[in-house]
């Protein structure tokens, strides 16, 4: 469907965790979008989104002003933004929305931006990779690119919170019974494993990971235990690098803090699709996940059905 249209273009908002901690996600996203004919444009001079639960909690005007500055980079070029992070999505989407509905906030933000020669105009849309894959590309087209279906791989999902909530505002999916992320992940051919606590938070958000690591890891541990109760899974897939960090590196931290060992391979949906599209794990650096670097281990290749 895309080949008959002009190549869709999106400003690519990187954020912090993807480029600075999980560059394999950035590489995988670039491979997958290139395969699908979606053009990613650099956002030169972009900053932290800034993290909504952290900086939004400290000072709303600062949070909105920095987010708005990021939005103006895309406004200047006239293309929508896409990001592979639920947190960045929440910050940029929420700021874009709040600056539309809150005149007073917009005035204060634009006073700040005027100092640096910028103005928030509210002319662009903020999307998540999931939106681009589902709405712009379409699941049939995604499916058409799957040359290595991950048959027999048991996949637990962690959709995370900030892409689909609040549902009344974001209008993405039914956040109590979401199906869109699942349908997207199922195009890979992997088998969906339902578990009771699929929809609870990974524990990292809202500045909790920074405030109290043990409390945040206890959320994560509950998720793993819930997956085990459901019979276990070969991989966990998420659309968010902060959730990925919490679920991936979190396993090392859980072992250290609680003495319980979990050995799940955690993939961003773009890493899952890169594999399904036939890319080798070494092409995007699956082995560079922090869990493997810290444990000096490797992905469980036999469970993934791919070779290093």
């Amino acid at each position: 469907m895309i080949s008959r249209m002009a190549r869709p273009k999106f400003y690519h908002f990187l954020g912090c965790i993807i480029p600075h901690r999980y560059p394999s996600i950035e590489r995988a996203a670039r491979l997958v979008f290139e395969d699908l004919g979606v053009e990613l444009l650099d956002m030169v001079g972009a900053t932290c989104c800034p993290a909504p639960g952290v900086f939004g909690s400290f000072d709303r005007v600062t949070w909105a002003s920095i987010a708005a500055r990021n939005l103006t980079i895309a406004e200047a070029g006239g293309h929508p933004i896409t990001t592979g992070c639920n947190g960045c999505f929440a910050s940029l989407w929420d700021a874009n929305h709040e600056l539309h509905v809150d005149e007073e906030l917009r005035k204060r933000v634009n006073e700040n931006l005027a100092e640096i020669g910028r103005e928030f105009k509210g002319t662009i849309e903020v999307t998540h990779y999931v939106d681009v894959l589902v709405n712009t590309v379409g699941l049939d087209e995604v499916r058409r690119h799957v040359v290595r279906p991950l048959e027999g791989v048991r996949m637990a999902l962690h959709p995370g919170c900030h892409w689909m909530r609040p549902r009344a505002l974001k209008k993405k999916d039914n956040s109590e019974r979401p199906r869109i992320f699942r349908e997207l992940c199922e195009t890979s051919g992997a088998e969906y494993v339902p578990y009771k606590d699929e929809l609870i938070c990974c524990g990292a958000g809202g500045a909790v990971r920074t405030a109290d690591l043990k409390v945040s890891l206890d959320f994560t541990k509950q998720k793993f235990e819930s997956i085990e109760e459901a019979g276990g899974a070969d991989i966990i897939v998420t659309p968010c690098p902060f959730c990925e960090l919490q679920l991936d590196l979190g396993q090392v931290e859980i072992q250290k803090n609680f003495g319980v060992e979990f050995t799940y391979d955690v993939l961003h949906v773009m890493e899952l699709l890169a594999l399904a599209f036939g890319h080798e794990p070494g092409e995007f650096g699956l082995k560079t996940h922090l869990q493997y670097l810290q444990r000096k281990s490797e992905p469980r290749w036999e469970r993934l059905g791919v070779k290093a």
């Binding site: 480029p19 670039r30 956002m43 030169v44 993290a51 640096i116 909530r165």
Partner: protein, 183 residues
């Protein structure tokens, strides 16, 4: 201590700030007064399941005007902002927004965890809460990505712009002047 006398917590007039709720309402938690204390927020809260954080209690205290008690509570920082309470509140109160507003007020009054101030300093210094480090530069190069991403890390002008914003909003002063309250 040894008898069975019930100890009653007395709320004094001076503990009550009647304007506290108005501030929350004006800042966006517009339906907070319709709270019926049903406890849905607390019962669905993944943080409350493992900590002393009780969303319903914070909302109740806020409605009573117990500003100081709410703003100084470390529990305020245990909300992971997962938005589950907001989704399920039968009164459609923007619970998470209310918590964020209260956190803003707490920070303004000088209550901030040292580790949160540290994260803020990273943002002020680099434009990123999680900045690039040497190990990741090398990893990026090995993966065929631009060694330094096209963010503030590769643009001094961009960094100056975002620092100017933080100076203007008073954020830099706020972070640098906050006492090590710690809690």
């Amino acid at each position: 201590m040894t008898d069975s006398t019930i100890v009653r917590d007395i709320i004094d007039d001076e503990d009550i700030d009647p304007k506290f709720v108005d501030t929350l309402v004006e800042a966006g938690a517009d339906r907070i007064r319709t709270c019926i204390q049903c406890g849905t927020c607390s019962s669905v809260c993944p943080s409350g399941r493992r900590t002393a954080f009780r969303t319903r209690e914070i909302i109740r205290k806020a409605l009573l005007g117990l500003k100081e008690e709410v703003l100084t509570s470390p529990d305020l920082w245990l909300c992971a902002t997962c938005l589950t309470c907001l989704e399920r509140c039968p009164r459609q109160i923007k619970v998470t927004d209310a918590i964020i507003i209260m956190r803003n007020m707490a920070v303004e009054e000088g209550f901030m965890l040292p580790q949160h101030r540290k994260a803020s300093r990273k943002l002020i210094k680099t434009g990123h809460a999680v900045p690039l480090d040497d190990a990741n530069r090398e990893m990026r190069r090995e993966l065929g990505l631009q060694e330094i991403p096209p963010t503030t890390h590769s643009s001094g002008e961009a960094l100056e712009q975002v620092q100017e914003i933080m100076r203007r909003t008073g954020f830099i002063d706020l972070i640098e002047s906050t006492e090590e309250s710690g809690q």
